[in-house]
Amino acid sequence: MRVLQAPQFPFSVTRIGVTMQRTTHRSLLLARPVLVALAAAVALTATSCAKSEDDAADGKKSTAAADAGQKVAEPKPGSKTCTIDAYGGEKIDLKDATVGFSQSEKEANPFRIAETQSIKDEAARRGVKLLTANAQSQFSKQISDVQDLLAKGADLLVIAPLNSDGWDPVLQAAAAKKVPIVTIDRKINATACKDYVSFIASDFVEQGRRAADQMIEATGGKGEVAILLGSAGNNVTTERTKGFKERVAEKAPGLKVVFEQTGDFTREKGQQVTEQLIQSKPGIKGIYAENDEMGLGAVAALKGAGKKAGDVKIVTVDGTRNAVQGVVDGWISGVIESNPRFGPLAFQTLDDFTQGKEVAQDIIIQDGAYDDGNAEQDLGKAY
């Protein structure tokens, strides 16, 4: 090795710098294409001969199999509606229209996967031409995505917004072309029936309330419970917490929330926080996890501590397949669904709207729930 390097050193101190710089330059030029080629090769070979545990078995579950479409919760009396005359624009037949769908986050979690799939399935079912884009969690990309969709000739837009603010450029562009917009799962801060038509989503506060109901039933309304919060500063976190606490205070004063720590919506943090929790508060009776992943982390922690299924009651929100399987196995007492299948409802809204019918400005979806009574037969509905 030293022999090989010898030619590098016969210079005086001042010249070493010069030589090193020169080598740097040359190898950098070489390095880039080599690195790119290498990365591509690695990705290719890695996947081509991979063999995961599931390959031999029944294969991946198909999400499309049992598509439980969304239902609208009964509209509140006097809720605002929107018509095409009020919005401005022309009636079109949805069958001849092109619909653009802009997804906010990478389809890397079950919710987003099911959401995009549901939009695609419904478009295929109705024979509507669909253009899709994914912003990969970058807001600037989502803005240009939507502008692209408009440029490609989308007559109608379905947007799953990453942020609530900053939509002015898109709204102006859409208004200029009189393209109706429906937003799903998050609202945008703009005027309904002027800047966009309708907003379709779950009621996160209500999810919290229903989780509280499940917790009260599972624990008998007495004892100490803990909350695994979602990421800080997220409206889903604050609303699911608010609903839960409200309902507990109102219906079961005997149930005390003694512990609230964030698990960042991830399984690993959920596990770590629960491990600390059951050490310091061995008498804890229930854990409310604000998403399924943290709830599954809590299950892993309880298993690791040698607890048995049902020792600590766990209630979670989302309705992913793994969590519903947890209900079937007895580790989780209840799962409140947050339905990601916006496809049927979004297209129905667009269809009604373009035909000139009245549509509601805020459409709240009815979410399902899983407990030991229905988990087994409804497992297919979970996403």
Binding site: K51, S52, D54, N109, R267, E275, Q276
Partner: protein, 320 residues
């Protein structure tokens, strides 16, 4: 005791500061232990210590590699990404069995380490930039290979995560063995001496005829391999491979442990025992705040205070 000495004999102030620099992190750990024993219910139980040790083990393992890299006056930001990569590769190749999967993981990690080392040692890119590139690229690759969380049921992997020998979990044993191994390497081997010499002054080491490039490349490969070990252990403990969140911000936890443990960022010195204690200190601090149900933002503030204190204590060293 240090404070008493400080008040009565002013001349001993320098000595007290020196004591604080050398033993401050251990004093911090001892203090947190005492405070917790007094104020935290159920703290003094074998179960609790086991939990803390199991949670801190991956951080310690990553911090060991980080300490070596920092000893060469570098830094490795790609460790969290390597953990994620290890998680997704494990899931991808587990069908062949645990040992083959681990070999492939090692291959991938060594590849990342080689890339880091080559960029730093051969191309001459600043370590922070070179490893930043691999930090972004590594996690990207992990997500390309495994786009979403996957549950793992391999019984061997499960026992690696939750099994034990005579009541001591594998995780703790592995972390302890690796810590001893790294400490031995730094103190007693030629390689360790060369590493520190490079950290002290790379031009001098080069002039002295040390194999600078080889040592640097090996250090980055070792760091990546240690991160991969941590990634596999964390995955085994979770019994699921989660490349989206595994190892997030791990690089910062590791750097914190190293700095708090008394290893200067300027290189040339590595304190392995201090690094382990630094990781334990942060773990105990987090555990204390969680157990007393204080808001998570407090944890971050408390960590910041510890880091500032550690940097303040280290400041004196440069002058002497």
């Amino acid at each position: 005791m240090a404070e008493a000495a400080l008040k009565t004999v002013p001349l001993d102030k320098a000595r007290a500061l020196q004591w604080l620099q050398r033993y401050g992190v251990y004093a911090g750990v001892a203090l947190l232990l005492v405070v917790n024993i007094v104020i935290t219910p159920h703290f003094l139980s074998a179960e609790n210590f086991r939990t803390q040790a199991v949670q801190v083990a991956p951080v310690i393992i990553v911090a060991l590699g980080m300490a070596l890299v920092i000893g060469t006056e570098g830094v490795d930001l790609s460790v969290g990404a390597v953990m994620a990569l290890a998680a997704s590769v494990t899931a991808l190749y587990l069908g062949y069995g645990l040992v083959p999967a681990l070999l492939v993981v090692a291959l991938f990690a060594a590849g990342v380490g080689l890339a880091n080392g080559a960029l730093v040692a051969l191309v001459g890119v600043q370590p922070i930039v070179a490893t930043l590139a691999l930090m972004v690229g590594g996690r990207g690759l992990a997500l390309v290979l495994l786009p979403q969380l996957e549950d793992l049921r391999n019984p061997q992997l499960a026992s690696l995560g939750s099994g034990d020998v005579l009541g001591i979990p594998y995780l703790i044993l592995i972390a302890a063995v690796l810590a001893l191994l790294v400490a031995f390497t730094v103190r007693r081997t030629t390689f360790g001496r060369q590493l520190l010499a490079i950290g002290d002054s790379r031009p001098a080491a080069q002039l002295a005829g040390l194999p600078v490039r080889r040592v640097l490349i090996v250090v980055y490969v070792v760091s990546a391999l240690l991160a991969a070990v941590a990634g596999v252990l964390a995955t085994a403990r979770l019994q699921a491979s989660d490349p989206t969140s595994l190892g997030n911000l791990m690089e910062l936890s590791a750097i914190t442990a190293v700095v708090v443990g008394g290893t200067p960022l300027t290189g040339g010195r590595v304190n392995i025992a201090g690094t382990v204690a630094g990781a334990v200190l942060i773990q105990l601090l987090t555990a204390t705040l969680i157990k007393h149900d204080l808001p998570p933002s407090w944890t971050q503030i408390a960590q910041a205070v510890v880091i500032v204190a550690a940097v303040y204590a280290a400041r004196g060293r440069g002058k002497r």
